[in-house]
Symmetry: C2
């Protein structure tokens, strides 16, 4: 996360998927099994002999139990590490790194590196991103139970009103201070742009939310779907959500929903020419009038 | 499983789905958690005070770890049990039984009763069935890893050849003695009609087999997909499978694949007018020349 890229290093972008059920989230924690911890251990196995063990910078620091299909992270390799890797894989390129990492994790593992590619040092998995997109799944009394998706679905009794939920979600869109939907963390502002918040029923009649923002503060997606689910139950009105949001204090009017229903779907980046400027812009503290 | 229906009893047909991961299969076993055991315990809770605890007869006795989307079972209720149930659910009909059973299992359970309906006593979940349909999922090196489906997918290294697998599967179709693909069980013949055996790659490029037969002997689906996967790897030729089948002895030329990739998709029944005759026909021992 250093500001200035080191010209001696080669930057590698990884696409990563995981079943979060048995992980204590993304971020490395001593003594606990985390996605970052597992992947960095595998990276150290491959590269540790030839230079500093590579560290990962991630787009979305998911909580314990949250899943990912389209997670993105980057790491830096020294010229020696890159050269040794290329030789060890018979002149293969860095895309073989995905295969090597998965080989260490094992075929039946719950984390999988989907892609690995060399990118310019302007790319920053965290700060170059222009959006994160999540999906949340809720099965209610109208849903068909499907064993395949059940571990990634929240089950609720009764029936939720899709029309009210869609209406409530739409009223929330835009650039706002989301403190009422954030677990406080000292380091950052809670000002974000909610770009998309839509609900549909899928082929199993499961309610599926798609939620997209430039970035999310801690627990924000699960608070948003919890608030909208309360509207679907009839416990809150759509207008209440705008009132709660603009009150900028956390309330007990709705529940933060559990991690199991949440999947990080993807992370969006601008064209390569804008990676550096986007990254600089994001690093600057977000301000309400900045209009990213 | 009595041959003659009792006119005093009402027969109920259940549609059932489950995630088999944490069950020791369908069939009741003392001290082990099984799907039948869980459901019969719930049935006893509801009906045990008003008559004999109902027992389930199932279409497909799945092994430990096998999943189901379209399992079918039946049970019989006495007039008193049916009457008490109707009163307790405020005059509701038997379809409320699904809701009651799921309420006992709990919202987050790994088994779910999808439907409950009164049927004529001619219906026999096991013996009236004309086909069972299963699906098996294999992810190879060409597949995109998806956390949502990973617990129901077998992962193999290398790449399997879909064309060869399709060819091999087709050569196996028809009425044959499947002893080479069956774990021996004393009570039954191994003569079955393989009606359908097809492979495709789904949207994640996962190989998905659909296998349908009038009935399957023990471990037959997992042996069939294992034999065809060996053809996909290039270890066997399509013609070898016919030779193995017609040899009528179990071989070590292929592996019986693990339960986790297997899902019971559905069970087919003829029109109601044929339930009784189909049931009688199936009870008679299958013979090679019977041509069901």
């Amino acid at each position: 996360m250093a500001g200035e890229p080191d010209p001696e290093l080669s930057r590698v972008r990884l696409g990563i998927a995981y079943d979060g059920t048995d992980f204590h989230g993304w971020g490395r924690q001593s003594g606990l099994r985390t996605v970052q911890g597992e992947l960095e251990a595998a990276l150290e196995t491959i590269f540790g002999r030839f230079g500093p063990p590579p560290k990962l910078t991630v787009a979305g620091r998911t909580d314990a139990g949250v899943h990912a299909i389209g997670q993105v992270a980057h790491l830096d390799l020294t010229a020696r590490q890159l050269d040794k890797f290329s030789r060890a894989s018979n002149g293969g390129n860095i895309s073989d790194l995905a295969h090597r990492l998965n080989g260490i994790a094992g075929l039946e593992s719950d984390v999988r590196v989907l892609t690995a590619e060399l990118v310019s040092a302007d790319f920053d998995a965290r700060f170059s991103a222009v959006f994160r997109s999540y999906r949340y799944r809720i099965a209610d009394a109208a849903s068909v139970w499907n064993p395949v998706t059940r571990r990634m679905t929240l089950f609720v009794p009764g029936q939720l009103d899709l029309g009210r939920m869609s209406e409530a979600s739409e009223t929330l869109l835009g650039l706002h201070d989301w403190t009422a939907f954030c677990k406080s963390r000292e380091e950052s502002t809670n000002i974000r742009t909610l770009q998309r918040f839509e609900w549909k029923r899928d082929e199993d009649q499961t309610l599926v939310a798609t939620v997209q923002a430039d970035a999310f503060c801690h627990s924000m997606v699960r608070a948003l779907v919890g608030a909208v689910a309360a509207v679907g139950e009839g416990k809150l009105e759509p207008a209440d959500l705008v009132r709660i949001r603009d009150g900028k204090v956390r309330t007990s009017d709705f529940k933060v929903l559990p991690a199991k229903g949440l999947v990080l779907l993807g992370v969006g980046y601008p064209p390569e020419s804008e990676w550096a400027s986007r990254s600089q812009k994001t690093r600057a503290k977000r301000e309400l009038d900045e209009r990213l």
